[in-house]
Amino acid sequence: MLRLAPYLVAAILTLPVLAGMLGALIPSFGFLPVLGKTDVGFGPWRALLAWPGLGTSVLLSFLSGLVTAAIALSLALLFLAIFFETRAFTWLRQAIAPLLAVPHAAAAFALAFLIAPSGFLARLMSPWATGWQRPPDLLIVQDEWGLSLMAGLVMKEVPFLLLMALAPLAQIHAGERMRLARSFGYGRVSAWFKTIVPALYPLLRLPVYAVIAYSSANIDVALILGPVSPPPLAVQILRWSNDPDLDFRMIASAGAILQFVVTAGAIAVWILAERCVGLLVRGQLVSGRRVAGDAGFATLGRGLFPVLILASMLGIAALGLNAFARVWRFPDALPGRWTMAHWQSVAETAGGPIAATLWIALLTTLLSVVLVVCVLENERQRGARSGRALEFLIYVPLLVPQIGFIFGLVLLAEMAGAPPGGGLVAAGHVIFVLPYVYLSLAEAYRRQDPAWTKLARTLGQSASGAFWKVRLPMLLTPLLTAFAVGAAISIGQYLVTRLLGAGRVETVTTEAIALAAGGDRRLIGAWALTQAILPVAGFALALAAPRLIWRNRRGMLGGSR
C-alpha cells in the first residue's frame, strides 16, 4: 500500500492541473460546442492579440513576477545574513508561520489603506505635518507601474521564502559554515553570501520559482493593489470570463494559455539570470576579500526590517481600527465615532461560513498529512529519497497559474457528474494544501535519526509500534506545524472554493471577498480580521499543543525540530 503513495500523490498533483489546462486549451481554438462554436481556428487568439492594452497587461504580469521575486529573495537573504543565529532569528522562527497565515487579500487591504493618499499614514501625518485638509490627488495605490502591487506581494513572499529557507539552512550546516568563515576573518554579511548562499540557493530554487509564478498570475492581491486599466493579465482574464458576452469565454481561455506562457517565460528569464549572476560573482566568491560593504548592508538591513515589520503591524492595526469605526473622516488620526455594528454583522452571518471553513480545512489537511507521511515513510523504508521527479511534481500546483486550469477543472467535474458542493471543494483544496504540507514536513521527517527505530525495536516494539509510539510522537511539533500550514492554505483558497462549490459553499474567504465588492472598508476590516484569526489561531494551537502534551517531557520539545 505504502508503495502506491508516491504515485497517488503525483496523480493528485498533476492530473487535475493537466486536465484543467486541456479544458482551457480546447476552447482557445474556438471549440465550445454549447455556444454553437465548432469552427476550429485562431479566432479567439486573434481577438486576444488584438485586445487593446494586452502588451501592457503581459508586461505587468511578467515584471511583477520577476521584480517581486528578486526583491523578496534579496530581502530574505539579507535578513538571514544579518540575523542568522541571533536572538531575532529565534524569534523569527516562531513568528514566521503566523505571518504567512494572514491571507493575501487581508494583507493587501491593510497595505492599501496604509499607503493611500487618504490612508492611515496620511491621516497620522495630517494636517500637522503635511498641511493636507483634504487628501492629495496622488496615484499611489493601484499605480500604473504596479509598484504598490509588487510591494504587497513582497510583504507576503518574504516570510514564505524565510520559512522555505529554514530547513535547507539546517541541511547545509549553515551554522558551521558561518563559524568557519568568520574564524577566517570574513565579515558577517560577506561570510553569509560567500559560504552559505551558494549552497543554500539551489535548495531554495523551487520556492523562488513558486514566488515568480504566484506573483505573475495572482488574482486577490492584483485586484486590490494592481493597476486597473490595463490590469495585470490574470485580472484581465477574470474580466473576460465574467463578461456577459459569452464569446469572451474563448478569449479568456486563450488568455489563460497566454498566462502559462508569461509565467513560464518569467521563470525562464530568471533561470537565465541565475546563470549570469553565477558567472559574474564567481570571481567575487574566491577573491578572498574579507569584508565587502558589510557595514553598509548591515545598516541597510537593520534599518529596513524594523520599517517592514512596523508597516505590517500598522497595516493590521489600521484594519482593526476600521473594523470598530463608525465615522472616520480624513484627516482624523483615529475614528471619530466607534461601533460594534460591523462585528455584530459578522457574528450574525459568520457561523455557517466558519463551520464550513473549518471542516474543509481540517478534512483536507488531515488527508494531506496522511498522504505526505505515507510518501515519506515509504521513502524511509525503501531507503531512498523519492527522486527529483516527485520533488518537482510537488511544485506543479504552485507553478501553474490557478486562473488557467480552474475553469477547465470545473468543466471536467461537471462532465464527471460530480455534484458541486463541499466534497468537490475539499478535493480541490487538497491539490493546493498537499504541496505546502509536504514542503513543511519533509525535512523534519527525513532528519529524524533512524537510530530511534532501532532503539525501539531493541526494547521489544514491533515495526508499527516503533512508528506509532516512538517516531510519530517525536514528530509532533513538525506534524502540527505542517497541519497549521495546510489549514491556513485551505482557509485562504478563493477561486477553487468559489468555482468548484458553485458558490454554494461559503467560507470566510468567499464571504470576505463577496463583501469586498461592496467597498465598505469597515466591514472589510472586520471580515479580513475574521479571515486572519482562524489560521493564526491554528498556528497558536500548533505551537501550544506540544508544550501542553510534553509538559513533563522537555526533551520532546527540542529534539523533534
Binding site: 458558490g503 461559503e506 465598505d520
Partner: protein, 406 residues
C-alpha cells in the same frame, strides 16, 4: 407590526387564490396549487450579488419567510458578478446537464439576460403562472416587458426598479452641476474631485450611457441594435466629452474606482465631491452607517437620468424551478416589495402598480419615508430608458480601445 402581519395574510391569500374570478383563472389557481405542492421541501439556490450586507439580510429574511410559509428553503449564493452564474449554467450545458442544475434563480438584467436568452439558457416562459404578476399591471407598464430593449417574453420576473442618482455633501457643494456641460466646467475648476467607476462595471458603463443619451444628436438610434447605426458618428460626442473630462478627473483618469462601492469609499474618504449610485437608498444607507456625512443628498440631472428594472430568471436546467417560482411570487407580494422599498431594510423601489393594490397597501407605499438623502418621487425627474444591450458591449469595447491603453 399588526399592519405587516395583516399584509402577510393578504399576500398568502393572493398567492394561493390570486385572480380567481373566471374559469380560466380557476385553472390557473389549480396549477399554482400544484406548483406550491411540488415546491414544498425543495431548496432554492438563489444566485444574487452579495456585496451589500443589507441586501443580503433582506434575502435572508425572504428565505425565512419562504421556509415558514411554503416549506421552501433558500440558499443565497453570493456573487461578485452576475456573469459568474451565467458561466456556471453555461458550464453545465457544455457538460450536458440538462436537469438538476446548480442554479435555481438569478437576479439579472440587461446584458446577462440578453446573453442567456440568446444562448437558450433560460427556463419558461413562467411569468404568467405567478398569481402576483398581475399586481405589476404589465399592460400599462411597458418598461416591465422590455429588459434593456430586449423582450422579456415571460422568461424573467420584474423585481426591482433602479434609478441613476448623483449625490454630494450639501455643505461642500450646495449647487451641484445639473448637466454634463456644467459637470465638465466644475471638474475643470475642481480637478481631481470627480471620477466614475471603471467600465465595464455596471455603474461605470451606465455613466457612459447617461452622457451619451444627453449629448447624442439623435438618441433614438440608441434604442435599436448598434449594428443598424453608425456607431462612430453617434458615439463621437461621448468620446469628445471624455477626452475633455479625463484630464480633470481623480488621478487624471489614470485609475478608476472598481465599482459603486469603491466610489462611495472615495466619497467617504473625502477624495471626491460628487458620486452616483443606481439607487436612492445608497447614500441614505451610507449616512445611516456613518460612512457618509449626514448632509449628503441625492440629486439628478435636469434632462433626467437612466433608470431600469432588474429581474429574476430561472435557468433552463434549474433543479428546483417550482420552488424558485414560489419564492419569486412571494418576492412580488406587496409585503415583500414593501419591505424591499423600506430604506430601513434596503430601499429599492417597487415594481408593483399601486393602482392594483388595496388602498391601505397603496397608501403604505406612498407614505414610506425614503431615507435622509432621498429625493421625493416627484423630484426624481424624467427616467431615461436603457439603450439596447448591444450598445453596452459596443461602448465598453470603444472605451477600452480609447482609454484602456497607455
Amino acid at each position: 407590526m399588526l399592519f405587516r402581519r395583516g399584509m402577510a395574510t393578504l399576500s398568502v391569500i393572493l398567492g394561493l387564490f390570486g385572480g380567481s374570478s373566471a374559469g380560466a383563472a380557476d385553472k390557473a389557481s389549480t396549477e399554482w396549487t400544484q406548483v406550491l405542492e411540488a415546491a414544498r421541501g425543495q431548496t432554492v439556490y438563489w444566485n444574487a450579488w452579495g456585496g451589500d450586507p443589507r441586501i443580503n439580510a433582506y434575502i435572508d429574511w425572504a428565505g425565512e419567510q419562504a421556509h415558514e410559509r411554503f416549506g421552501v428553503s433558500v440558499v443565497h449564493v453570493k456573487l461578485t458578478d452576475t456573469a459568474e452564474a451565467v458561466a456556471r449554467v453555461l458550464a453545465e450545458k457544455s457538460a450536458g446537464r440538462s436537469e438538476g442544475g446548480a442554479v435555481d434563480l438569478i437576479w439579472i438584467n440587461g446584458e446577462n439576460f440578453a446573453a442567456m436568452k440568446r444562448n437558450g439558457l433560460l427556463f419558461g416562459p413562467w411569468l404568467d403562472r405567478l398569481p402576483n404578476h398581475r399586481l405589476t399591471d404589465p399592460a400599462n407598464n411597458p418598461e416591465l416587458n422590455l429588459d434593456f430593449g430586449v423582450a422579456v417574453d415571460g422568461l424573467e420576473m420584474p423585481w426591482a426598479r433602479a434609478r441613476l442618482v448623483f449625490y454630494r455633501d450639501t455643505v461642500v457643494l450646495p449647487e451641484p452641476p445639473l448637466n454634463t456641460d456644467a459637470l465638465l466646467a466644475w471638474t475643470r475648476e475642481n480637478p481631481g474631485r470627480f471620477t466614475y467607476p471603471l467600465p465595464p462595471s455596471f455603474l461605470g458603463t451606465t455613466f457612459l450611457k447617461q452622457v451619451l443619451i444627453e449629448r447624442a444628436a439623435n438618441s433614438s438610434a440608441l434604442y435599436n441594435p448598434v449594428s443598424e447605426a453608425d456607431f462612430a458618428a453617434i458615439s463621437k460626442p461621448l468620446c469628445d466629452y471624455l477626452d475633455a473630462l479625463h484630464p480633470t478627473l481623480w488621478r487624471q483618469a489614470r485609475s478608476f474606482p472598481e465599482n459603486a462601492g469603491g466610489m462611495r469609499r472615495l466619497m467617504s474618504d473625502g477624495e471626491i465631491d460628487i458620486a452616483f449610485a443606481f439607487s436612492q437608498a445608497d447614500a441614505s444607507a451610507g449616512i445611516d452607517s456613518g460612512e457618509l456625512p449626514a448632509t449628503v443628498r441625492n440629486y439628478v440631472f435636469d434632462a433626467g437620468t437612466i433608470g431600469n428594472v432588474s429581474f429574476l430568471a430561472i435557468p433552463f436546467n434549474a433543479g428546483h424551478s417550482n420552488a424558485a417560482m414560489v419564492l419569486a411570487n412571494f418576492l412580488l407580494s406587496p409585503e415583500a416589495q414593501m419591505r424591499k422599498q423600506d430604506p430601513a431594510y434596503w430601499g429599492s423601489a417597487t415594481v408593483l402598480s399601486l393602482g392594483q393594490l388595496t388602498r391601505e397597501q397603496a397608501d403604505a407605499f406612498r407614505n414610506l419615508d425614503l431615507g435622509p438623502a432621498a429625493l421625493p418621487a416627484d423630484q426624481l425627474g424624467t427616467m431615461l430608458a436603457e439603450p439596447h444591450p448591444s450598445w453596452t458591449e459596443a461602448l465598453e469595447a470603444e472605451w477600452v480601445r480609447r482609454y484602456g491603453v497607455r
